[in-house]
């Protein structure tokens, strides 16, 4: 019997091995070996460049993530509960879902200037329609029988929200959070590249101009590790918690 952790580790090692072999064969400056990247990574951490820029990007990520989640959940519930409002705003949502991320980013910077709040706004506007649509779907499929039950027993609005509505919306909110995190961190790099002078996006752009592939890979790896940590240590446990009552 193999342990369930063994296979992912093996697959990761073989990926690194493949990379090592390719880099070894090509001997090119645009594909450094894993070892070179690790050295660059350690250097970048030591000088404080990487922790600083990573921190700046993560701060932006957190702020825009929570803004988008809170606003999106509130609007999603509102639209899911009121069909008239939903009919009216549905086309708005479709439009916002389909505006390319790059366009919102450019417009935000043009209209509001190259400032922090414009950067955050651009990310939020990109993420918001997704959250709304997911939470609205969850609100639409709320179990009416249970709502009736709560109503007939005169359960307070707060308790109905907490014990009847929230547990049903929870899986949808978690889904929105997980897909949201993946979406936001990709968008945020573009935002930083176009209009900020710090953060991961700015650094990556800088290294692109310098053709410094080792640094680009080092930054990428550090970012992937952080996002994976958030996924595994926060979102995954929350997801499991939502399912514990199921058979």
């Amino acid at each position: 019997m193999t342990s369930p952790r063994l296979l992912p580790i093996l697959s990761l090692i073989s990926l690194i091995g493949l990379w090592q072999i390719t880099a070894g064969v090509l001997q090119s400056s645009v594909l450094p070996t894993p070892w070179q990247v690790v050295q660059v990574l350690i250097d970048a951490i030591r000088t404080g460049d990487l922790p600083y820029n990573l921190g700046v990007t993560l701060a932006r990520l957190m702020v825009s993530f929570f803004l988008a989640m809170l606003l999106g959940a509130a609007l999603g519930i509102l639209l899911g509960r009121h069909p008239k409002l939903d009919q009216f705003f549905d086309s708005w949502i479709i439009i916002f879902l389909n505006i390319p991320a790059l366009v919102t980013i450019i417009l935000c910077f043009v209209w509001f200037g190259l400032i922090e709040s414009a950067a955050i706004l651009a990310v939020v506007v990109n993420k918001l329609p997704n959250v709304i649509v997911t939470v609205r779907e969850g609100t639409r499929v709320l179990d009416r029988n249970l709502l009736e039950m709560a109503q007939s027993y005169n359960v307070s609005h707060y308790n109905t929200l907490r014990h009847v509505i929230w547990p049903q919306l929870y899986p949808f909110v978690i889904t929105a959070a997980r897909t949201g995190l993946a979406l936001i961190w990709k968008i945020i790099l573009v935002v930083e590249m176009l209009g900020r002078s710090d953060g991961m996006g700015y650094q990556l752009h800088l290294y692109f101009q310098l053709f410094d592939v080792a640094s680009i890979l080092a930054y990428t790896i550090s970012f992937i590790v952080i996002i994976q940590l958030i996924e595994l240590s926060i979102l995954k446990p929350l997801d499991n918690r939502a399912r514990r009552w199921r058979r």
């Binding site: 009736e148 027993y153 547990p167 058979r247």
Partner: protein, 246 residues
């Protein structure tokens, strides 16, 4: 206090097309005395659930009036639905506590769970329960608020005969320990005779009252199959117009 008076002149269901309104209840009147156990018997699909929803205050879209108890007195209505309607993400105990004010919880729930034989499963999630057990939890939840009016919508359908018998016994036991008005909807005339002080018969859609009968059999005597059966036969001969329900 908690007698109730029901007077519904009309209740429509809105169809998909506005023109085809569908009349479910018409000129339906009856009263319940305080602490009376009354069974409402009618063919399936005759609007019984709709009637209970109206009494429970879930449906306000009707023409008529429901009077529960005296003015200014708080009435506690317990509603046992046709399906148990438990919160799947809360344990048995939490499901019962859900309908209570936080300060009333502990003693009431402990006592109730043990008298309904639910102690050993109190921390289990409903998905792991059999239908019979789930129904028992739904019953516990309704009793927990100490209702002075208990509405029951065919609460024992699709239980096997022994389980249904146990549930009826349990219901009568709790009702006699702490009397309250009960309105019990069923389409099973034997079940109605077993339980009720009085039977009210409803017609096909649109529902109205077609007959009322007092069940004058002592409760201890109703466990005999023959007593119930002969009462049913007597009903048949005395009220030919309700024979289709029986």
């Amino acid at each position: 206090m908690t007698g109730i008076r029901i007077d519904i002149r009309s209740k429509f269901f809105k169809a998909v097309h506005k023109a085809n309104k569908h009349l479910v209840i018409q000129d339906l009147q009856f009263s319940l005395r305080r602490d009376e156990f009354c069974c409402l018997v009618g063919p399936s699909g005759c609007g019984k659930t709709t009637l209970l929803n109206i009494i429970a205050g879930l449906d306000h879209d009707f023409d008529g009036q429901i009077t529960i108890g005296n003015h200014g007195q708080q009435s506690w209505i317990g509603y046992v639905f046709q399906e148990p309607r438990l919160l799947p993400w809360r344990t048995v105990r939490q499901n019962v506590e859900f309908v209570l004010q936080p300060d009333r919880r502990h003693e009431v729930v402990d006592e109730l769970l043990s008298s309904l034989g639910l102690e050993h499963i109190q921390h289990v999630y409903p998905e792991r329960l059999s239908l019979g057990m789930s129904r028992r939890v739904a019953l516990a939840r309704a009793f927990a608020i100490r209702p002075n009016l208990l509405l029951m919508d065919e609460p024992f359908v699709s239980l096997d005969a022994p389980a249904a018998r146990r549930m009826r016994k349990l219901l009568v036991k709790v009702w006699r320990e702490r009397p309250h008005t009960v309105l019990f909807v069923t389409h099973d005339i034997r079940e109605a005779i077993l339980l009720a002080d009085r039977l009210i018969f409803l017609s096909h859609v649109p529902a109205r009252v077609v007959g009322e009968v007092t069940v004058g059999i002592a409760r201890w005597d109703r466990s005999h199959e023959t007593v119930v059966e002969s009462f049913r036969q007597k009903l048949l001969s005395e009220y030919p117009e309700i024979s289709q329900l029986l």
